[in-house]
């Protein structure tokens, strides 16, 4: 008789089959990441932070790090009058990039930035590696990305557009960005994630952001890779006093998309705006995980996420706001609203507040429901077809978030995709 022992089998995270490129971050960071990866497994739904997102589809694949080639990027250009950086599979493509940035701004590939003292000071400083598979994977393997350093008092005259294009089958991109906005500076950054002839490929991007005293940074982000691609994005942000940080995340496609926004507000009088919208169909799974950590008093944060979920798709929202003990006079607002368009679609929404200070004003709310049928009837009674009435109402629902985007060209680009993908008519 043999004895069967049901001991858990330890399965190391081995997503990368082939990588002929060496990670460019410091040996110290790489060694640390490597040893973390040796000791952990892919998170499962038993891990609280991944409770509603199964990673089996990613874990069962083997990805390759490779440079890719994209000939025509015209359909990915979100806005024209800007500085543009183009990355293919996580590698900078300088031929496709354009525009010369004004003085006072450093914008270079991270593999040229290792001698820059600002870069070495900030890279990896706040990013948690322990127990974080994707952060560690990125830190160990990242071969390219952009280092943007906006000097003190510099105001970027035009937005900086960063386009990332994923190509070929089973590709992994470990794009790694560092954005440092010095005192009194101001910048607007547009990020677009796309795919071209890519299947089952994976973007694992980490962006570290430092918004120093009285600096103002806005990021508009469009995620539009195809419905077989995976995307894990982590934004690790630190805000110093009197600063403003705004990020608008618009998720339009992707098989599994996970967005981690970790915002640490360490200075007083800061303003933080997190807006997001996700429009899903098919079997898509989109998970927005946000943390706003108020460590200093007299700050304000606003968070608005709205989604429309169709077919068999699933949306997850987990928003957490911490107000630390000494962070008095905080105003923190968080709202998540969802519309389900089919009986088989799912939403898991978990807004959380953890407050240790006693003089704060915080609120959070979450709603998930269907379109207001009374309103649909009202519009039809005026002569609109049922389809038009529903489209109009979905558009209005989503537009609440899209109108937070100030750049009209970015909005028009999004409206165009919504028109192509969902046949919705939205306008400014």
């Amino acid at each position: 008789m043999s004895e069967i022992i049901n001991a858990p089998v330890f399965k190391k995270v081995e997503l990368i089959l082939k990588n002929e490129f060496e990670g460019v971050l410091s040996e110290e960071l790489k060694t640390k990441s490597s040893s973390i990866l040796d000791g952990i497994q892919m998170p499962t739904t038993r891990t609280e932070a991944w409770k509603y997102t199964r990673l089996g589809k990613i874990n069962n694949k083997k990805f390759t790090v490779r440079k890719g080639d994209v000939s025509d990027i015209s359909s990915f250009i979100i806005t024209k009058d800007v500085y543009t950086l183009v990355f293919v599979n996580g590698f900078l493509n300088s031929t496709l990039s354009s525009g010369t940035l004004p003085e006072g701004i450093i914008c270079q590939s991270i593999n040229e930035a290792n001698s820059d003292s600002t870069f070495t000071k900030y890279i990896g400083q706040n990013l948690r590696l322990e127990e974080e598979v994707f952060n560690s994977l990125n830190t160990l393997n990242s071969a390219d990305g952009v280092f943007i350093h906006i000097g003190s008092k510099v105001i970027l005259d035009k937005p900086l557009q960063i386009l990332h294009i994923l190509s070929e089958t089973n590709t992994i991109s470990n794009l790694r960005n560092l954005i440092v906005c010095e005192k009194n500076s101001e910048a607007k950054i547009i990020q677009g994630y796309f795919s071209e002839n890519a299947t089952d490929s994976f973007t694992n991007v980490v962006t570290e952001v430092f918004v120093e005293e009285n600096a103002h940074l806005t990021i508009d982000k469009i995620q539009y890779e195809n419905d077989s691609c995976y995307h894990v994005a982590t934004e690790q942000v630190q805000q110093e006093k009197n600063s403003t940080f705004t990020i608008n995340t618009v998720t339009l496609n992707g098989a599994i998309v996970r967005n981690n926004l970790n915002i640490e507000v360490v200075g007083q009088n800061c303003l933080t705006n997190l807006n997001g919208t996700y429009l899903l169909k098919g079997n898509q799974h989109v998970d927005n995980h946000t943390i706003v950590d108020h460590k200093a008093p007299n700050c304000e944060s606003h968070e608005l996420y709205k989604g429309v979920v169709n077919d068999q798709s699933t949306a997850v929202f987990n928003g957490k706001v911490f107000v630390r003990k000494d962070a008095q006079k905080i105003n923190a607002f968080q709202s998540n609203a969802n519309v389900l368009l089919s009986d088989e679609s799912t939403v898991n929404s978990k807004p959380e507040l953890e407050i240790y200070a006693d003089d704060v004003k915080c609120s959070h709310g979450s709603t998930t429901g269907q379109l207001d049928e009374e309103a649909v009837f009202y519009l039809r009674a005026r002569g609109l077809s049922e389809k038009s009435a529903r489209k109009l109402m979905i558009g209005a629902f989503v537009n609440d978030v899209l109108k937070k985007i100030e750049n009209e060209e970015v909005k028009t680009f999004i409206f165009e995709i919504l028109h192509q993908r969902f046949d919705w008519e939205l306008s400014n």
């Binding site: 207001d372 309103a375 009202y378 039809r380 005026r382 609109l384 049922e386 038009s388 109402m393 209005a396």
Partner: protein, 250 residues
């Protein structure tokens, strides 16, 4: 214009309309009065095409078309308009944008070209003046944050924009003060022509001081039990409905 014959309608298995007959000709104004629960709003809902109601018997002919066979939007496109008793607030949907879309779908249905942006704006200006609706309100989200009076004026503004053959005003006077009532009634009167018709559903006689009906009908227990002229409304105001009940049971 509209001929309703022996209309029976029920909701959740409960019969509300029990054999209603009514004929309205172009150029006419009909008032329908009656006590609570008589079926006044049900009649409006059934004519507009609310799906919760089940039609068990009867016919409704609307200018040669079988109205009950048409979808809600097609009834509107054929020229039927319902001014809601409780206009719906629709956050984020602009009043003007949706009206333009509606107008164009109506025009498409009738084989007409879409209205140009310029002509549309002229129309908005002209029609909002009829009900003294601030053009700023006209371009806000549908009824969002509107006062009770503004909502009712917006209903008549939409009616003016869509220029229906038959308008059904469902308790349009409810919740209106006397000034708003006058404005709304004036609006309706200005839109009146020899080619269109109006059905005014109301609880109170006072609206009929402003919108003079050609006929007054008393709806009671799902049927029209009495028809008269505007004097009947005054009678009802003074004596209530009990005498009709008594007359009925005789």
């Amino acid at each position: 214009m509209i001929t309703i014959k022996n209309l029976h309608a029920s909701i959740d298995g409960k019969e509300i309309l029990k054999g209603l007959n009514l004929e309205v000709k172009p150029g006419e104004v009909h008032a329908i009065m009656g006590p609570n629960g008589a079926g006044k709003s049900t009649l409006a809902s059934v004519l507009a095409g609310r799906e919760e109601y089940e039609i068990t018997e009867g016919t409704v002919d609307f200018d040669g078309k079988d109205l009950l066979d048409l979808k809600t939007e097609d009834r509107a496109r054929e020229g039927l308009f319902l001014a809601f008793q409780y206009p719906i607030e629709i956050p984020g949907v602009s009043n003007i944008n949706f009206l333009r879309a509606a107008l164009n779908e109506i025009r498409e249905y009738r084989g007409e070209e879409p209205i140009s942006a310029k002509d549309f704006l002229i129309l908005v200006r002209e029609k909002s003046a009829i009900v003294e609706l601030d053009p700023k309100l006209a371009s806000r989200s549908v009824n969002e944050g509107f006062s009770g009076g503004e909502k009712k004026r917006n209903e008549i503004f939409q009616m003016a924009m869509l220029n229906p053959k038959l308008a059904i005003l469902d308790e349009t006077d409810s919740g209106l003060d006397i000034d708003a009532l006058r404005i709304v009634a004036n609006g309706v009167n200005k839109l009146k022509s020899k080619d269109n018709a109006t059905i005014v559903i109301t609880h109170y006689q006072r609206l009929l001081d402003y919108i003079i009906p050609d006929f007054v009908h008393v709806l009671y227990d799902g049927k029209i039990v009495k028809t008269g002229t505007k004097e009947l409304a005054l009678d009802l105001e003074e004596r209530g409905y009990d005498w009709i009940k008594e007359e009925m049971s005789l």
